[in-house]
Structures are given as structure tokens and as C-alpha cells.
Symmetry: D2
Subunit: 486 residues, 4 copies
């Protein structure tokens, strides 16, 4: 047992028969053949195949002691800085294969599972905590190369700070019963990307003010658990033609609302429950954020490289490279790209062993990246639109090129150094990247991936040690400062 | 004869049988019934009905001396500031009916035709110029309430400044023959919005460096003229459901490439040809820009009001009005809105009679508005996305609300002061406005409506008289400045 | 009695012998001869002369019924829109004479006094309120053309929202005794611009949360009242040479802390006291803000014109007008200027009579301007610096031009169309405007003139009626909205 | 011989008796005692002392083979990445001692001299080139710990691109004669920071379009060479009080115009002349930029830490840390700081040996930093002003605190956790950093240190290899791209 291939992934997924609702209909038949899901399922399958590709297999897998089967490298618990760099290489491979477009690529969730396992000891001997169940999950995941999604965002009923959320029936998923078999969960979670398209769902809660104990839990259950429903949003697959929709035809991940209708979570699946402190500590002190951010930032770098390629090719195609403002726009992308690269490297160079012996990337550079990317990514999409200008709109379809009108298209849509068909392909890509429903969802996704940008900047400020710098001023001015906590 | 109603518009349009290519197929049958066009044709028809609505008919029409039939007020040649304000009122009515979403609403093109007629004298007794044909057009348009589009953007082959565009076969439409019947035109024009959906097409050229005489023409011909083809881009109609796609199902205007395959333009349709100076003067010195800008800025104000309404309702729905950064975002929209309103009013207050007796809005405030709007409109769409946050993405469809899963949607998607269905309606509107293919095309449309924003700011700077201000400095510092042209 | 001239102003001011502390020393002798104050006193005197200048006297003064002496037009209570426009013309004259650099030019304070008088009725028959004393002040001010400053900013001890400011001894000025002669005031106020340089000081309080009744007062007293001290900040006069310091040698206004050391305010000087509601209502409902904002925005427009002149002349001098990014920077100033002009005109066009018969400018356009200017003014100073570039720094002095080294300066500092001396003059002006201590204080002054910009945007949002726009959305989507207060 | 101490520096400098013109007067007597220069000379002296300080001497010096005296580490030619990190440590020591305020600290120029020597071979056997003279300079500089400035900016007569600069007499310094003794130079250079305050002046030319051979030279000569004059700008020393002017009293470096009045440069001082290609190659291909940028970026990081300390202390003093927009402003500084740190580290990690065996920092991350800092530094000064708000303006002087008015100051200027005197000290520092003539010159200095920001972004774009990214797109879309140079 160990890494699987694409076919295995597809067979297993089809076999689960998860309860997925799409456009008012419960999906029947193979999910891998449904128009709204076939693209993303195929793309995921190709990622599973990728890790077995001989030329890079060494960079994509590792071996557990005394085991014969290769394990996906995303499960590797890093103990040295070299391990971290090895992990980055692997993440880059996954990301490059999908151009950074797949947020919930398998390595992301594998990394999350690995981080949970690496910090499970944090829960040892605390009330209502079962660290051993996390270790089980980790072993099971590695052995079967399981696929996951996670979900932790509560419904957006009321975003006021002092909202206490009284409602008779649960809205946000909570424990409504604890019996001998396990926990019973009722309520919903928002925004599980690829919800229903994975073997299991990892469910936990983000700590917050007014944290209700009945919401302070974490567990992982099979996607086809009884009472678990995935309600999909509208699909952003533009169509099957990769000419017309080069990205959405392949990488539209779908997001779904996860509904728990009195779902029974067996005890051996529960990591903790009814323990606000443990739930808070686990999220904030485990290596979850360091390892997850390391994966995400690496993927975002690959995506930025893709964007730079598109921008540069647009510039060459319509020959606008001579304009200073165009040069400035390209250099803006370059500055963003190199900044992200420098930050992820710094997080590795400044990494330190945590108390359980795992090499954690330094959080500050990653937090800085998490403040930067949600601002620059939307700007990059704007730059693409500003370079493409009116050319972004007037784009005919694949069928038009297959019809008798092609003669006209060839003549009137040609570019200086590119034939009309290639030019339309390129512009359709730029459009799908930034202006289609798929593209704008990508923008919103990157904008909010790490959470509310306003809060992210407050958190960075709070976490950043400034004592040394304040003391320099105090000494320079010879102030009578009480030493305090800056 | 005079104003028509919606039904007349539809019948006449269907009767034209214009040659329109969509997705590789030449459209057959009634254009008003085609899925990609039915929404916009119906929306336009409702605008024609609007001008006959008794409650506002007085504000929408006027009477020509000694004529009985009412004429659309967009044709009115203003001679006083009151006329200008009357025109603005009428434009607001049209715009409000379609929430500012229809760029090529009939009043826009009627205004263009009126401006051409008001300045036709400029062409008098110049070589290859036929001002009388413009007056004919104006009369014909008023009498039959004709619908128009215009087209003047050349194909985006190469945007370098020094591109001289050598190509054996014409790319940009040009005169290839002048015979006894008229001009023969071959080549293409980009981006005719609503191309094929109007009675006539007004064709002219934007002056530019290296202006080829064979491109220095203007004329108006029926859309079904032989050899005239409209090649459509992909459609941005998301679907027929107004619940799912409240805007694109109604207001997707379509853009098309206009191809002239040796189209014969009869002499009585030609306004000028083979005259670079006349073509340049007519665009720059006629009242085309003042009147067209006045219409456009008015429509953009109405659109901004719509956006403010959406933003405010989002804020109330998820109850985020207490956050200072949210208040700042709303105030950004307010500032933009009030600025645009102040500028359009100033253009009216500073209006002056031109040499032919027509009251032209002052251009500077309108040019300022044309520099501002392309910057603030994209920002407004970003603000909508930032307020809506994760709620913009996870949106189920109308059919989901019609299915048994509705129970869950009602519970989990409710907002503090709004039921789930209304909330989803509102968020789908916000999404269609800013994130659907329709919405992003609107953004690109507003960004480039007045032309390249980089050039717009150079032009404003060039046109703005600064002598008085330079002299103040010179006098204050007692400089030995030669008086020159600042 | 009526308008005075500059000489009268100086004599009267010198005669007051106000208690002014500068650099640790109590000023003795004539304030008009002190190096830190002579420039501003002379500039103010020239403004008093200006209103008597025959060529514009009609635009600068008006006559009270049955009185012979002209009164400064800034005291005119406007009853028509024409009055408002007449007031604007007068404000422009004052402002242009000092290039918009003098924040507390006489017309500003006269306008404040006029606004108080125009709204005095608001205080009628309220507890501890003496509207008749305001009318007295108004009459006295007009008759003697008195000069004023005002002060209402409390010391910046702690800016936390929940600071209740417990301190045994008063910090912020408050009423510490009420006796038969009047109020006794102890404590301080920050930032009286021109404090000590005027006949009287108008003292009142800005309403705020946790508004202490003992701070809820308003009065006007002579600057030389016993116990009243003005503690000056460091002077920003760069020197006496108008070559070296064209602005600070003339327009440095000085700011001071106003200390009340048990100052007795006679009852006939008190407008109200110990009445939180009256103090709040008077500031928010009187015409204080509309008339004051109208003056300020007009002055800021004149200042922007001055900046545009400087920017344009810099561009011409070093011949950088061909660069697109320079054109864009100039157009940014133009856009700001025209926007401010459009807003102030809209405030006049939308003006309405208040309940006491005075024509108030509309507040919304002025509030919008008050949100815009604090953002664009600092940007304008940045633009000046970006255009001047390295030339802003390497600037020799007047004496250098008077020495034998002049030969070298003439050769090496010449510009394309300007001799070295003029060029240095111009760049020194640009430097004094944006980079000297005087210039940066101007920037900070404009940034905070209307108060905290963050609060300004919240207030604008709160004051702006959005019902109509929300209802448009509700109707379009057919929502079940309870009509509420948007 | 080797590192000197502060006293030696002062004695040597006074002994030179350089021809310095200040405010129209040729300076006589010891420069170290002149009010405009005493601060900076003392600050430089303290830096020379710093390198001899026992606790860090090991980090500040190194030993040449077979030599006994320590050499300043800034002269070390790095051959490993460890050498680079060692150099960075040393630069940080220098910079921290002066809070990053001294642009032309000795290590900067030593680094430049070292970089010239490390690349001298590039000039070998080229016409009119004398690489051996560079090696001589390097040896001489190390042995005597010489101080330098450099100058390469030409007078700002006309910044148009097509300006060919016809003027009979030279404006920009050029070779006017070549005789047996050496070159004769006539003309001027702008903006030598610390011009006249160093042992020697390094003179060279920045390559440019229309590069005149007579300007294509480089040499280093003693500051007291006959015919060499330094014409100072106005001084930005605010005064001697370190309370009032904590920064300008110490770190005002002065800039001067360097005039060459037929200066004879002996042949053994010439590096190259009359060779446009060599002059261009030497600047672009030598290690000048990599090593100089490495020093500069390190200093800028230290300066940013100082700014962060000031900002944080302001926030604590007036207790505004609870406001989200204040938190965001602090996090903006943190993001800038960490980004710069990550980039300089990346430049070291990606360093490579050049053809002559020296370890060059990678240029791309440094170029990215050089694009970022000129944008964020001005923003940081703005943030300081926005946090300090009105408190930045109303600041009394040291003498006020020494007078009887102190009682009032103590009461009314106290802050929540700081007494009035400390508070005023802190705010005066914030003011001197961002609003005094010294502070704004610092801003302009950082903005233009690396050259015109507009050009910097064009250069970054041009230098950045994008082939790989373009090819990814081409492969993904299956385009028929000719492989070209992207």
C-alpha cells in the first residue's frame, strides 16, 4: 500500500456514492462523468499519476522504515531544513502540473494531516482529547493515499462582532448529542472546496470570540457517512472545449456547503470535543499553520509564474513592450513573484525544530506572504486585463474557427507575431484566468484563502516582536520608559 | 411618424435578417428568439416602450415645429442650458430602466446622430464632404426612430506606436474603390456593441498618427447591406433564469467584429471620404464628444447609484456596517458618485453656445469625469467583492430552491434580516454585477469606454489651460519668463 | 467704523501685549517686529489693506442698512445663492493674495462669527444659553473688523476610545467655577493657529462621546485677558530672505497651546455653558460647518491652482513634459482641482434656506470635498517632489548668488529655458511648499483641517441617504425587505 | 597602517583645507568646527572609532596576509557566501550606530572602491584604460583608511530624452584637454553627498544614450586638488540642540555641486577615459552594482527598523493601538521590513562567483529591493505623520522646558504613559525624521538613491528572464511560437 494512481482514485471516488446536490438534483451515477465534475476529477487523477512518474518519482515519494511501498512526500514529517526544501520541490511539481490553479490539490490536505499528526502530543492527557485518533488518521491516510477536504468556515449569517448567534435550531454545525457510539453533529459548514470529491472530510473549528464548547471539536469522517450532504454552488465550468475554456474545463474545483443531518461521528474518529482550550491551542500552537502556509505560498508562487508568462506573452503578441507603463506593470508582477520567493526561502532558512522534533518553517515570513498575496493577486489579474484591453472581450469560439467564417478570423484577428487562432487561444486563456466566472472565483479564493485580510494584518502586527526596535529609540532619546511589552 | 414602441422595434429588426455569425453558425430565424439575443432585444424593446409611457412621456419626447408626432428627446438639439438639463433627465430615465447596464441604449446613438447633425456645417464646401447626407440621416432617424450602433476601433494587430501596418490585404476597413455608385469598403472593425441588433451602422474613424486617407471616411448604412457581416464573440448570457442571472439574462449586449466584404456604400450615405483633415476636424471640433460624454457620464452616475444600493444592502444583510473599513468603502462609492454628479452639473452650468447655436456642455468637467470613472468603477466592483467576501462564491441556483434541499438552504443560508432566498438573490446580483462573465465585461467596458486611460490623462493635461496659474508663480517670484504656451 | 486697514491692525495688535511664550521666553515689545511673527503680521496687514483696494472694494465689502462704513463681505449673512457666489468671489480674493497658504485668514474667522450669529436663535430659551451675547459679538466684530482665532482641540494625552481622562488637575480646559462675574476656566487647548496674533479668541468644544458638562461651553474673550497664555511651538520661519524662503518668510502662521490659568470669562462673553445638549446641537445644527467648509474649500481650490502653476513651471523648466508619467501627474492635479471646483459649485447650486432665512450651502458636496482634499493635497506635494526630483535638494542660497561663486552657479544651474537664478528661485519655492518645515506643516494642516480623515469618511457614510438606492435593488429583485433606515 | 580612529579622521580632514563654499562664503578654519558640518564630522568620527571598539572589532576588521594592521571589513573582497554574511554584519554595525541615516557612511564608499578593484581586470588591455591605477587606489584606501565620496550625476539642465545638450562652454564635467601630465577636466557634477568632507573624490559617469566620449572617464583625486570646488546647498542642520533636532544636529550630510575648473587629473589617477564602451561595460558588468546595492539595502533595513521603533512608540504613547487602521499601518512597516530582509538574504543565498573569483550577491533580489524601497520609504514617513497626527505640529523647544513655562508643559503635554518632556522628545524625533528639512531630504534621498524609479522598473523588467514562464504557456496552449527572446 502507498501512493495510488489516477485510476485508483477515480474508482474509489465513484464507489463512495457521496450525497452531492447540484442544481437541485442529487447526483446519481459516476461523479467522474458528470459535466460539472469530470474536469476536476480528471485533473486530480493526473496529479495522482504524476507522483508515480519515473522521472520525478524520487522527488515525489519517500519510504517509511521497514516498508516497501513509496509514500507521497507530502506526508513526510520534516526534521531538517533539507526536508523542508525537499517538500517545497514536491509541492512545486504538483502545483506546476495544474499551474497553481488547484487550491485543494492532494498535497495541501496531506500536509494538513501530517501537521495534525506532528502536533498530536499537544492534546495528550487533556479532557475529551484523543491524540491517538489523529495518529491513526495519519497512518491510514499514508497507507491508502486518501484524499481529503476540510471545512471550518461557519455560515455568514451575521458578521457583527457582538453577534451571539441565538437560533433555536443549529446553523453552524455543533455537537447535539454525545452517546456511546460517538458524537452527533447537526448544522452546516460553508465552503468545502471539492466537498464530495474526496475520500474523507476533515472537520474542525476556527477559534474565535464567544467560542461555544459544542463547536469546539475536530474529526475526520468518510465523505459517504450517513447524513452528510454536500450542496454545490452553481458550476463555473464554461464548457468542455479546452480551446474556449482552457482553465475551467480542467480546474473548476467546486465549493459546497456541508450539511450534517444528525451525523454520527464514531469515537475513534474524534480528535477532541467540548474543549474550547484544546481546540484553540491545537489550531494556534500546532504546526498546522506553518506547514499549511508553506504549501500554500509555494503554490501561489507557481501560479504567479504562470501569470507572468501570460502577461509577457500578451505584451509580445500585441507588441506593447515599448510602453513604459506596460514595463512597469510587468515589473510589478516580477516584484511580487520575487518577494514571495524570497519570503518562502526565508521561512525555510529561519526554520526551527519544534518541541516534538519537527522542523517548522518560520511563521513571520509566511504571515507576511499571507498579507501580501491577497493584495497582489487581484492586482495581477487587473494587470492582465489592462494589457489585454479591448482584446479581452471580442473573442470568438472554437466552433467559429471550425466554420467557414474562419477565413475572416484568420485575417482580422491575426497579431503581429502570431496567427489568429493562437492569438485567440492566448486571449481566451487570459480571459479565463481573470474574467470568466472561474477566474473571478480564483481571485476571490486567493483574496480570502488565509482569512479576512483586515484581520490578517492585525494579527501580523500583534505577533511581531518590536521590543528591540522600541528600545533603540528609547536609548537614543534617553527616555524613562518602563520596559513593557511592545 | 416619430417614436416607435418595443414591438415595432422587434418586428423591424427581425425583418432585416442581418448576417450575424454566432459560435460558427449564421443565425437564421428571428433574432429576438435566439437564446443569446432574446434578453437584450427584449430589454431594448422595453426602452422603446418607456418613451411612450404616459407618466413620463413629456420628459421623454418633444415635437418638431409643424409636426404632430412626438420625437424622442435624445434627438433634441439643445439651445439652452435648460435643454441640456432636460436631456439629462431623459437620459436618466433610460438609464435607470436598465440600471446603467446598457452602454448602447438608444439614447446614446441618437445623441451621436444629433451631434453629427448639429455640426454638419463644419464640413461645408470641403473636398469629398457631404454635410447634407448627415442632415438626411438625422431626419430619417427621427422620423423612424431608427436604432444604431457605431464602430470605429481598428483591429488590435500591433499596438506599437511606430507600427505602420503594412499588409497586402486590408485588415482595418478601408476604401478600396470609388465608383459611380459609391464607395467600396473592405476590411474589418472591432467591437461593435449590439452589432447586428440595430437598423443601421454608423461607421467612422478615430483620428490618429499615420492616418491613411483611405480610412478617413464616415457613413451610415443599413445593417443588412450586402457584404456586411457581424461576427459575435462568445455569449455572456449565463442562462434564462433571472434568479440565477439577474443581469446577464437581460442586459448582455453582445459585441461583434464588423466585416466589410467589398461593401458598397451609396454616395447619398457618405458623409466624407479620402479627407484626413476633414475626418480629424469633424471628430475633434464637432459637438460629438461634448454630447456623447454628457450622455455617458449621466448613465454612469445612474449605474453608480445602483452599485451603492447593492453595496449598502449587502452591508445590512450580513450586518457589517459597524466596521470602520466597511464604512470607508461605502464612503468611497459615495465620493465617486457625488463627484461624478458635481462634474456633470458643472459641464451644464459652464455650457456655451457653439458657432452653430447649439448649447455644448463644457468639455473639461466631462473629460475629468472620463478620467475618473475608468478608475473608480473597477474599484467599486472590488468593494462589492470585499464586502460580500466568501458569501460571493457559495451560491446555489434557482432550481436548488425549487427542490427538497430547500429546507437546508432556508436554514443555513439565512441572514440576520433576510430569508435565505432573498439573500441568495441579492448575492447572485452582486456576483452577476462583478464576477460573472457579464460583470467582468461590464468592468472592462467602463474601463475602456472613453479609450485608453493612459492617453485620456495625457489629453486632459494637454487640453487644460494653465497659463494663468503659471503666471501667478512667475509674478510671485518675479521671474523673467517669456510668455509662452503653457 | 467698519473695515480697517493693515496699519490699524498692527497698531491694535501691538497694543494688546498678549502673553505669548516663544522658545522659553515671554515676548516683550512689538509682536510685529519679532522675527518669528513679523512675516505673518505683515501678510495679515496686507490682507486688511486688500479689502480697501479700490479696484475690488465692491467685491470685498458691503453696507449695513443705514450705516455709512463698509463692512467686510466675509461678515455678510447670505440670503440668496447670489450672496453665496459673492462670498466665494471675496474668499478667492483673500486666498489668492496669500496663495491659499494662510489657513486662518481673517475671512475664515469672520465667516465663523457670522455663522454663529446666523444660528444664535437655536440657543433661545435653553438652559445656560445666551444667544444675545453671540449677536453682540457679531456686531462688535463687524464694527471694529476684529481679528480672531478659535481653539477647540483638546490635548492629545490618550486617544483610546474608552479613555475617560481621569486626572486630578484639569488638562483639557474646563469650567472650574461659576461666580457672579462669570465663568472661571482652567486647563488647556491645543493648536490655536495664530494664537496671540488676534484681537480675540473664540473658544468652544467639539462634541464627543463622554462629553463632560464642564467642558460644554463657548465664549469669546480678548487675547490679552488675564491668565490667558499662548505657548508657541518652534518657529518654521526659515529666515527673512524671500529668495531663500519665499513662503515661510511670509506665511508662517504659528500654532500655540492656549493655557487658561483660572481665566475669568465675564457673563456677557458667554454663549453657553454646562449644557451638553446645547453645545452638541449648536455645533451640529448651526450653519457653522456649511459656511466654514464653504470658505475652506474655496481657499483650498486657490491653493491647488498655485500648486498646479508650480508643477507646470517645473515641468517646463527641466523640459520633462514629454514623459507620459509626468503628463499623468499633472492631470492628477487637474482632476483634483476641477473636482473641488465642481463640488463647491454644487454646494452653492444645491443651497437651501435654513429655518432662520439664511442660504446654507449644501453639506454633502462640501463633506465630499473634505474627504477628498486631505488625501490629494499630500499627493500633490509628492508630485511636486517627483517632478523636481534631485533638483529639489541641491539648492544654493541668495547669498551664494551675491558672491563671486555666482559665475559657476549661472553656468551650472541654468535650465533649458530659464537662467540659473530664476531656476533656483522656482525650485526653492517648490521646496518651501513641500519639503521645508513650513511646507510639511502645511501638508499636515490640510490633512487634519477637517479632523481625523478616518472619522470623516465614517461620518459621510452615516449622513448619506441611501434609501432610494436600496429600494431600487429591492424592487428589481422583488425582495421582502422591511422598509428601514439605510 | 590600517583602520584609523575618529580623531585621525578629523585631523586629516581639517588638514586638507578643501575649497568649500557655503552660503556665498569660502570656508576658512577647521571644517570640524563649522556649525553646518560639526555634527556630521563628529558622527563620521564616531563611526571610525566604532570599528576599533574591542567588543566588535573582530566583526569590523580583517587582516591582509602578512600584514599586522587590521583593515576595515568593508574592504574585504568576498569569496564565499560566509564572507557576504560577514560583510552584512559589519554594515549593520555601521548603520545601526547612525540609525541608517548616513547614506555615505565610510563602508558604502569602501565597498565601492573594493568593487572597482575586484573588477579591474575587465579593463585589461582596452584602449585608454589603466586597471592598475584602480588596484593602486584600493591598496592606498585600505592602508590609510581613506574617506571618499563619489559623484556621477550630471546637471539637470534639460531632462528631455532627445536633448543633445549643445552649449559652448561645458556644463557637465568633461575632458577638455589631454596632456603629458594627465587629463584636464572642466564642468560640473551635481549632488556629491558629503562633498568636501572626504579625503578623495571618486569621479565617473553613468552610461547613457548619446554618451559623449569626453565624458567617458573615471578617476579618483584628493578633495583638495587645485581647481576643485564644492558648492554647498543650504544647510539642514536645525540647530545644535539634540533635544530639538535629534537627527539633523548629528546626521545632516550636506550635498554639494562639484565644480572642476580646469582640474588636472594626473595619469596615475585615471582609470579610463575617452572610451565609451569601457565606461559602459565597467559600470554594467563590474561588481559595482551588486556590492553597492548589498550595502545600501542592508542600511535601509536598519533604517526601517528605526522607523518601526518610532511608529510603535508613538502608538503606545498616545494609546491608539486598538484602532484597526493603526494596526494596519504598523503591519505595513513590518511587511516592508521583512520583505527587504528576505530579499537581501536571498541575494546572498543565490550569490555566485564571478569570473574573477569574487562572490557576487544575486542582483535580481537586490533590484527588486531597489524598486520597493523608494516606494515604501515615503509611505513609512507618511504613516509616522498619520499616527502622530496633530501632535506632530505643536512642539515646544528645549528652552521652553528650561523656563518657568515648564510647569504648564508638564501638565498639558503629558501622555498616558509618558511624561511631557519624553513625549516631546519622541514627537520631535518623529518630526525630524519625516517633516524637518532634514527629514524630507532623507525621503527624497531614499526615493532617488538608486536613480529614477520609473527607469528602475523598466530595467528590472528588461533584465528578468521570462522564457521559462512564456514557454509554459506556449506548451499549455500548444502554440506555434517561434522560440524568441522574451
Amino acid at each position: 500500500m502507498g501512493t495510488i494512481d489516477g485510476n485508483t482514485f477515480i474508482q474509489r471516488l465513484n464507489g463512495l456514492k457521496n450525497e452531492i446536490w447540484f442544481d437541485g438534483v442529487k447526483i446519481k451515477g459516476n461523479i467522474s462523468e458528470h459535466p460539472a465534475f469530470k474536469g476536476i476529477v480528471a485533473a486530480k487523477a493526473s496529479l495522482y499519476d504524476l507522483q508515480n512518474q519515473p522521472s520525478i518519482k524520487d522527488e515525489m515519494t519517500f519510504y517509511l522504515p521497514e516498508k516497501e511501498d513509496p509514500i507521497g512526500l507530502s506526508y513526510l514529517q520534516p526534521k531538517t531544513k533539507e526536508d523542508l526544501k525537499r517538500r517545497r520541490k514536491m509541492i512545486e511539481h504538483w502545483a506546476r502540473h495544474t499551474h497553481g490553479m488547484m487550491g485543494r490539490s492532494p498535497d495541501y490536505m496531506n500536509t494538513v494531516v501530517m501537521s495534525f499528526a506532528s502536533s498530536a502530543t499537544l492534546l495528550k492527557e487533556r479532557e475529551n482529547c484523543f491524540p491517538e485518533n489523529i495518529q491513526c488518521l495519519y497512518k491510514r491516510a499514508m497507507e491508502h493515499d486518501l484524499s481529503f477536504t476540510h471545512t471550518f468556515i461557519t455560515p455568514q449569517v451575521n458578521r457583527s462582532q457582538i453577534n451571539l448567534g441565538f437560533s433555536k435550531e443549529p446553523i453552524s454545525a455543533k455537537v447535539v448529542d454525545r452517546n456511546e457510539k460517538g458524537l452527533v453533529i447537526k448544522g452546516a459548514r460553508l465552503l468545502a472546496t471539492q466537498g464530495g470529491l474526496t475520500d474523507e472530510v476533515l472537520v474542525f473549528s476556527a477559534p474565535r470570540a464567544f467560542f461555544d464548547p459544542s463547536e469546539a471539536f475536530a474529526f475526520s469522517i468518510p465523505s459517504n457517512t450517513k447524513g452528510l450532504k454536500f450542496i454545490c454552488r452553481d458550476s463555473f465550468v464554461g464548457g468542455e472545449s479546452t480551446f474556449n475554456h482552457p482553465l475551467s474545463s480542467r480546474y473548476e474545483e467546486m465549493d459546497s456547503i456541508v450539511v450534517f443531518e444528525n451525523v454520527l461521528v464514531p469515537w475513534d474518529r474524534v480528535f477532541y470535543y467540548d474543549n474550547v482550550d484544546a481546540a484553540t491551542d491545537f489550531l494556534l500552537q500546532s504546526s498546522f499553520y506553518p506547514f499549511a502556509y508553506h504549501q500554500v505560498v509555494t503554490r501561489q508562487i507557481v501560479k504567479t509564474e504562470f501569470i507572468l508568462g501570460v502577461a509577457q506573452l500578451l505584451v509580445e503578441t500585441i507588441n506593447v513592450g515599448e510602453y513604459q507603463h506596460v514595463q512597469e506593470k510587468l515589473s510589478e508582477i516580477i516584484i511580487g513573484l520575487e518577494t514571495m520567493k524570497a519570503l518562502v526561502e526565508k521561512s525555510e532558512n529561519d526554520a526551527e525544530l519544534d518541541e516534538w522534533g519537527y522542523m517548522r518553517p518560520s511563521m513571520i515570513p509566511l504571515q507576511v506572504a499571507s498579507n501580501i498575496f491577497p493584495r497582489i493577486y487581484p492586482r495581477f489579474t487587473e494587470i492582465i486585463q489592462l494589457i489585454g484591453a479591448s482584446g479581452m472581450v471580442s473573442l470568438p469560439t472554437e466552433k467559429a474557427f471550425d466554420s467557414e467564417i474562419r477565413v475572416e478570423l484568420d485575417q482580422y484577428l491575426q497579431a503581429d507575431g502570431m496567427n489568429a487562432e493562437d492569438r485567440v487561444k492566448l486571449f481566451r486563456l487570459a480571459w479565463d484566468l481573470t474574467m470568466s466566472s472561474f477566474g473571478t472565483r480564483q481571485t476571490q479564493y486567493e483574496r480570502y484563502f488565509f482569512g479576512d485580510p483586515v484581520r490578517l494584518s492585525s494579527i501580523l502586527n500583534r505577533n511581531y516582536l518590536k521590543n528591540k526596535h522600541v528600545e533603540e529609540i528609547s536609548k537614543f532619546l534617553n527616555l524613562n520608559l518602563k520596559s513593557s511589552n511592545h
